[in-house]
Symmetry: C2
Subunit: 428 residues, 2 copies
C-alpha cells in the first residue's frame, strides 16, 4: 500500500512517505541512507535510499542511470550534496516528484537488502578504550593497555570474503583450541563464540596510493556508517593470535547492516572528542581544533540477544547492552582515515573500517561483547526467560541497533544488523 | 622477430618458440605460467601464457573467449588440464597450430605485465621457521617461537589495495616510530625499510562459505604460485604491532611477480615435508601420508639488491640471499589451504596466500629479510661496489627470483619480482 498524501505535513521536515514521519522511524527525510537491494536472488543489486518503511529505487526514480554503488560513493562532495538535495526535495511533502516516485518505492520488507557495497579491503580498529582495557585485562592481566594505545588508533586487516549481509545465518566455526590445562590443542567447534558491537565506516572518495589524507580532509573521504558485528571465537583467537594478531577466530563471519548513514545526515550529532584521563595529546597529524571540538559522533548503540526459545515464543529478545560511539571511542572517524593513510596506503571506494568494539565505561554501562559482559563466561547473563548465556549458543540471534537523537534535531536510525548462529557443520 | 622453425627440435620437450628451449629460460614448454598483460595503459588486461621470451595471447590464439583471469582460475581441474594440454600441444615443435599462433605472440619486453589477477583477500602466513625464530629473537629475545607455532600455520590478514605489479616503484612510508630511548613516538619516514622474500599462492577453485577444505582436496584449490615481496617498515611495525599484529608497517606496498606457475608445472619438484626438530606431529586434519611424503615444493629462491649507483653503472645488482621453499617452510601449501578454511572461511578465486619470509637455516644459508641479514641493521651488508646497507635506501631496487631444477626434469622459473624505493613524499 502506497502512502497517502496528508495536507497537515510540514514540507520542511516531513515526507509524503508517511511512515517516514513517525517519531520512532529510523528513516525520516533527514536520514536518507544508501543501500543495495534486489527483488529476486538472481537479479543484479540495485541502489536504494531508505525512507520510512520503503526503499526508493534511485534508477527508477531517474536519479542515477546505473546500479553501481561505488560510482555513487566516489562522487565528488558537491555531486553528493546535489544528490542528497534532489532526494530531500523530491521526498518532501508537497513535492511535484511524488507522482513519478511512488512507482519507484518498494517496501523494505518485500526486498532483499544486501551488503551496502562491494568491499575491497576491511580494516578493524580497536578504538573502544573501555573494551581494550577490559579485554586486555583478561588476555594480559598485568598489562591491559599497551604503551602504543594512547598514541595511535590500533588497527589490523580483516577478511572481506566472509562479510555477511544482515539477516544471514552462519555455522559455528571449528578451530584449534587449547584448553588451559592441556598440553596440546584440539580441533573442535568454538565454545566461546561472541559478538562484537561495532560501527562500520565506508570510504567514499579514494586517495592516490602514496598520498596521505590530511586530518582536515579526512571526512570528505567517508561516505557513511553502518552497524557492524565482528563475530569472534574467543577460544580460537586466544590460541592463534600471537604474535601476528587475530586470524581464524574472526574470519568466519562479520555482519553488516544494509544502510550507510551518510556523514551529512550525522552532522547534527557531532560532539567533542573524549580522550581517557591520562592519555597524551595526539601527535600533530592526528590533531586539530575542529577534531577536538566536534570530531566525535553521538550515536547510541544497543545489542539484543534472542535465543531460539525466545524466537519460538515470539519474543524479540533481551537488550543485553547499551552504549554510545562518542563515549566509547578514543579516536574520531577522521583520525582513523588519516592514520590509515599516513603511510601512503590507498583507501579505495567501498573499503570498510570497523571501529572496534564499542563498550561503555563498565559492564553496567554497556559492554559490546560477551567476553566483557560475562567476565570471560564466568558470570553468565541471566535472560528474561530464565535461560543463561556465558557465550553464544546455537540458534541465538544477535541484533545490533543504533540511532541518534538530541533536542532540536530529528531522530535518525541505522536500522538493524542481525545474525544467527547455526550448529557447527560436520567436517569433510 | 618471430622464432624460426628448427627441424632438430624434440617435439616432446621443445617448442617452436626457440627462446623457450634455452637451458636458462624460465619459461620452457614444461612451465606455461599464466599472467595478465596489455599493450597500452588504457587497455583492458588480457590473459597470456609465458613461453620463452614471449607471451601467448590466449584469446588471440583462440583458446578462450574472454579476458577474465578469474574464469580461467576457477575452472574445474579437468578443464584446466585440457587447457594446459592444448597449450602444450600447440606450442610443441611441429605443431600445426604454429602458423595461427605466431600472430598471437608478443615479446614480454614489449608489453606491460600486471598483477596476475584481481585479488579479493590477501593472507600472509609465517611458515618460514628459521625466519620466525630469528625475528622472534629480535622482538622477544626470551621467547622467539611461541607455543602455538609448531601446531598451526600462523597467519594474518593483509591489504590488497597496495598490491603492486612487479616493476612498480613506491614511496618510502611515513609512520609513527618510537626510538628506544624516547618517551614518545614521532612521525617520520621509516628508517628501517626491509624486503621479505616470499612466495604468493593463488586460489583457483573456491570453497563454499562454511565448508572446510580437506587436506586431500586442498591442492585442487590452488591455481599457481608467484614471487612475492612483502615490503616491511620494521620501525613502524615494532611500535604498532601489539596486540593485534602488523598494520601500517606492511600496508604501503607488496610486490607480486606477473606469472602464476601452476601446480601442474610444479609437480616434478615435490619433496617430503621437513619439520623442524622437536616439533610435534600435526593434528590429524593437517596430516596425511601424501602430505608428509611429497607435500613440499623444491623451489630455489634468490634475492638481488641493486642500488641506485649500481643501476647507473649498469650493474644488475648483488645476490644478497639464496634459500629454498622446501627448506624454509615448516608447513605445505595444502596445509595452508586446509587450515585457512577449517573455520568455514571462504577462499575465493584470486585470493592470495603469502608464505611468509622464506629464510634458510642461518644468515649464511640465506635470510629472506635485511632484519635477519644485518642483525637488525647492526651488521650492515658490504656490497660489491663498496656501499653498505643496514636497511634499504632510496633508489634501491630489490629483485626476487625463483626456479626449480633437478636431474631428469626440465628447469622451470618464476621470472622476477622487482620493486624500487622512491624517497618519502612531503606530507599534505
Amino acid at each position: 500500500m502506497k502512502p497517502i498524501h496528508d495536507d497537515t505535513l510540514d514540507p520542511q521536515l516531513e515526507s509524503w512517505v508517511l511512515s517516514a514521519n513517525t517519531e520512532d522511524s529510523d528513516f525520516p527525510i533527514q536520514n536518507l541512507p544508501f543501500g543495495r537491494f534486489r527483488q529476486k536472488a538472481d537479479e543484479a543489486w540495485r541502489i536504494g535510499v531508505a525512507i520510512g518503511e520503503y526503499v526508493l529505487d534511485l534508477r527508477a526514480a531517474g536519479l542515477i542511470e546505473h546500479g553501481d554503488m561505488q560510482r555513487v560513493m566516489q562522487a565528488a562532495p558537491l555531486a553528493q550534496q546535489a544528490l542528497r538535495l534532489a532526494l530531500s526535495s523530491g521526498l518532501r511533502s508537497g513535492s511535484a516528484r511524488r507522482a513519478a516516485w511512488e512507482a519507484a518505492l518498494l517496501l523494505q520488507a518485500d526486498v532483499e537488502l544486501g551488503l551496502p557495497c562491494e568491499v575491497g579491503d576491511y580494516t578493524d580498529f580497536y578504538i573502544g578504550a573501555h573494551h581494550a582495557t577490559e579485554v586486555g585485562r583478561q588476555f594480559r592481566p598485568d598489562n591491559p593497555l599497551l604503551p602504543n594505545y594512547q598514541w595511535l588508533p590500533i588497527g589490523y586487516h580483516g577478511r572481506t570474503s566472509t562479510l555477511l549481509a544482515s539477516g544471514a545465518a552462519f555455522h559455528r566455526p571449528y578451530g584449534q583450541i587449547k584448553p588451559a590445562t592441556a598440553d596440546m590443542p584440539v580441533l573442535a567447534p568454538s565454545q566461546r563464540l561472541d559478538l562484537e558491537l561495532e560501527l562500520g565506516l565506508f570510504i567514499g572518495l579514494p586517495n592516490t596510493l602514496g598520498e596521505a589524507i590530511a586530518l582536515q580532509q579526512a571526512e570528505q573521504h567517508l561516505f557513511g556508517i553502518t552497524l557492524f558485528n565482528d563475530w569472534s571465537a574467543r577460544d580460537i583467537q586466544a590460541w592463534e593470535y600471537q604474535p601476528l594478531g587475530p586470524f581464524l577466530g574472526k574470519s568466519f563471519a562479520s555482519s553488516v547492516s544494509p544502510w550507510m548513514v551518510t556523514m551529512q545526515a550525522l552532522a547534527p550529532f557531532r560532539r567533542p572528542l573524549l580522550r581517557p584521563a591520562g592519555f597524551a595529546e595526539p601527535l600533530p597529524y592526528l590533531d586539530s581544533p575542529d577534531n577536538r571540538a566536534s570530531g566525535a559522533l553521538d550515536i547510541q548503540l544497543e545489542v539484543l540477544l534472542q535465543t531460539a526459545n525466545m524466537a519460538q515464543a515470539g519474543h524479540a529478545g533481551d537488550v543485553i547492552s547499551r552504549s554510545n560511539f562518542a563515549d566509547a571511542a578514543c579516536w574520531t572517524a577522521a583520525q582513523l582515515v588519516t592514520h590509515h593513510s599516513i603511510n601512503g596506503c590507498a583507501l579505495r571506494t567501498g573499503d570498510l573500517l570497523g571501529s572496534g568494539t564499542l563498550s561503555g565505561s563498565s559492564r553496567e554501562h554497556g559492554s559490546g561483547s560477551l567476553l566483557e559482559l560475562t567476565c570471560g563466561g564466568s558470570q553468565p547473563l541471566q535472560l528474561s526467560n530464565g535461560e543463561q548465556r556465558g557465550f553464544l549458543a546455537d540458534g541465538d540471534t544477535i541484533v545490533l541497533r543504533a540511532w541518534c537523537e538530541r533536542e532540536g534535531a530529528q531522530r535518525i536510525g541505522f536500522g538493524e544488523c542481525r545474525g544467527t548462529i547455526l550448529p557447527a557443520q560436520t567436517l569433510p
